[in-house]
Amino acid sequence: MVAPAIRFTQLGQVFHTRSGETEALRDVSFDVAQHEFLAVLGPSGCGKSTLLRLIAGLLPPTSGTVEVFGLPVTEPRDDIGIVFQKPTLLPWASVEDNVLFPIRHKRGRVSAEDRARAADLLHMVGLDGFANRLPDELSGGMQQRVGIARALLLDPDILLMDEPFSALDALTREVMGFDLLRIFSERPKTVVFITHSVNEAALLADRVLVMTGRPGSVLTDIVVPVGRPRGPETANERAIHDLSAHLRGLLLQRAAA
């Protein structure tokens, strides 16, 4: 039996703030298999981003454990790529230098091979010929593509994505989603994808983890009954429609309660 890529066991998270204690997560347990695409769906403030910070080792858990490849997470780990909600690029650095930032930041300098890798990644995310532009000259979608290329630079086994497309318009968002699937079909990754879009979760993920808010806990865990590869036509499939409706129902029911 292979250890899952990520395992949460009875995880609890409490934040101490000025206004007292806030329970962000309660008794959260789930596994993510290797090369699985897990979407985490839930209302805002249900501790979805906290999950990612726990996996990345940026936050020690209050109770319970987080394991990555069978080992408990105790410190920040660099075999994990992170894509943030905003692209958060360096405004003074070219697109290429932004992609290379993790290596330059970690080791102080970049090699010719690193540059070649950055060029490959830029090709993969569809930004050929933009290497020398500044982030300012790019659209929001293109900036987020740079953010994705940056997260892939160190070829991480696990990619954490925190509502990466939420700032984009609907059409760009859909195109980016399918581009992401194409990238992962070429280089399989374990992905944890935070979103509050029901459609996005159903279309992109292998499994959807539905969370409830305050404190965040797992409501259900649903396998998406559609195979791969997926493309724009997948959106028209009955199973996706049914799943979306079901997920929406769950969230609305929770919101009303």
């Binding site: 410190e75 780990r77 905003k86 003074w92 993790p102």
Partner: protein, 286 residues
């Protein structure tokens, strides 16, 4: 203004095989418009108008020169002082202002970094800085001069005191204004902590630092002049004080203009440096 310019530019590019007299006249009119619209022309024009008006009023109403000297008398005292004497005074003020300014930068930026890294130092140093800033420099200046004696040292310290505070506060604000995501990225990469400063925080602070540098450069000139008022034997501030005590008001006015020009030039120099070295940090004009 822009529409006139573009219209003039596009029409001049068009081929005009049968250019008639009225068309030529409108072309001349457009050329004139373009000249007026050129940057600087309107400013220079209005400046000349003000000077002419000033001269006429001062002469016509026979205003005594200690109230308002005529531009021509100010101009005359410019030349009567002579370039050598001007250079002595300008250099004295410029030297103190620049040394104080640079020293202030060299102290303020590392201090802001230290304060950002250590909450303890931030808590202990910040009130101290506020106390220093709240004390009027003009009042402290004589005390400093007594303590540090003659020479540039007391003047440089006074200049430092006046330029220091905006630099520390702005730099500290800029260092803290970095997107938290990038700090998390830095931590997840397990990069050396100093690189978080050099590669993320300091560059993000550049726009903040430059807005303080622009304020501080004009303050540096003020600091140097304040110090000269207290005790010195050279410098534009000294020159103005000396001239007024001798009742040579046109001469004092000339000194004032030199001082204003110096401030303006230094300010433009800071602006130019920012545009040249950090073009991305310059706020975009719409």
């Amino acid at each position: 203004m822009t529409s006139v310019l573009t219209y003039a530019a596009s029409s001049s590019k068009e081929p005009q095989p049968e250019a008639t007299a009225p068309r030529a006249r409108t072309a001349a009119k457009q050329r004139l418009l373009r000249l007026v619209a050129a940057p600087g022309v309107a400013t220079a024009g209005s400046l000349i108008a003000v000077l002419v008006f000033w001269e006429t009023i001062a002469r016509g109403l026979a205003i005594p020169s200690y109230l308002l000297p005529t531009p021509s008398s100010i101009l005359q005292s410019f030349s009567s002082i002579g370039a050598d004497r001007w250079m002595v005074h300008i250099w004295a003020t410029l030297r103190v202002a620049l040394v104080g300014y640079v020293l202030s930068i060299v102290i303020a930026i590392p201090l802001a970094i230290v304060m950002m890294r250590s909450p303890f130092l931030s808590k202990t140093l910040y009130p101290l800085l506020v106390v220093v800033q709240s004390t009027p420099v003009v009042a402290v200046a004589p005390v400093i001069i007594v303590a540090l004696g003659a020479g540039d040292a007391p003047r440089v310290v006074i200049t430092c005191l006046i330029t220091f505070f905006p630099l520390v506060v702005s730099t500290a604000t800029g260092l803290a204004a970095t997107p938290p995501e990038l700090i998390e990225l830095s931590r997840s990469l397990r990069a050396p902590p100093w690189r978080e400063i050099t590669q993320i925080r300091l560059p993000f602070a550049v726009p903040y630092i430059f807005s303080a540098l622009k304020i501080s450069i004009t303050l540096a000139v003020i600091g140097a002049v304040v110090a000269e008022f207290c005790a010195s034997d050279a410098g534009i501030g000294y020159f103005i004080q000396f001239s007024t005590s001798m009742f040579r008001l046109p001469q004092a006015w000339a000194g004032l203009l030199v001082l204003a020009a110096m401030s303006l030039l230094l300010f433009q120099l800071v602006l130019f440096t920012q545009r040249r070295l950090f073009p991305w940090s310059v706020p975009k004009k719409d």
